[in-house]
């Protein structure tokens, strides 16, 4: 699933490790989600949405 995590992260000047720490997941998890190779669960997507203060659908898109 495509997403804007890299952009949102860059806007805040966060590294993948910074985001991982805030989400309480591994850096590999952040990388896998960011590259669109691993789709997060709904709870984790909501956590991301809260963290970036954005609706889920503006972070993730189901378009190929």
């Amino acid at each position: 699933m495509k997403n804007r995590l890299r952009i949102l992260r860059a806007e805040r000047n966060w590294s993948q490790a910074d985001l991982a720490e805030r989400l309480e997941v591994s850096r590999q998890s952040v990388n896998a989600i960011e590259t669109g190779k691993f789709d997060p669960s709904l709870p984790l997507a909501f956590k991301l949405a809260r963290l970036f203060n954005s609706p889920i659908e503006t972070i993730f898109t189901d378009e190929e």
Partner: protein, 134 residues
Amino acid sequence: MQCYPATKAGRRYVYRLAPTMAIYLVFLFIAQWSFHHLHPTGLIVYVLAVLPALPLIGSLAIVGLYISEESDEFERSILVQSMLWGFGGTLAVSTIWGFLEDFAKAPHLSTFYVYVFFWIFMGIAQPFIRMRYQ
């Protein structure tokens, strides 16, 4: 590739597994030494024979605990996928070896090796599964 577990649950998994495997080695030594030197009979034979299997069964419970405790869904997914490869590889090798024993007079392999094969296949699969997500 990262060798040290990235999550708290992963570290707990290693801290639980390491002493369990050490206990296995101690129990294995006790069983082997007892059979070699004490020549036990009766019920004690069964108790001693099963003794080394107990920590190994414990290790499977530790894997189960990890899956239930791991809050990082990606890491959990990696382990579960590795386990599926472990189960699949073990079943494949056991099936092939079974037919080789039946038809091709291959030497008998103790069913204990099912446990070993599971970990080998799981261990081999894990880095390849991780690579798919990089």
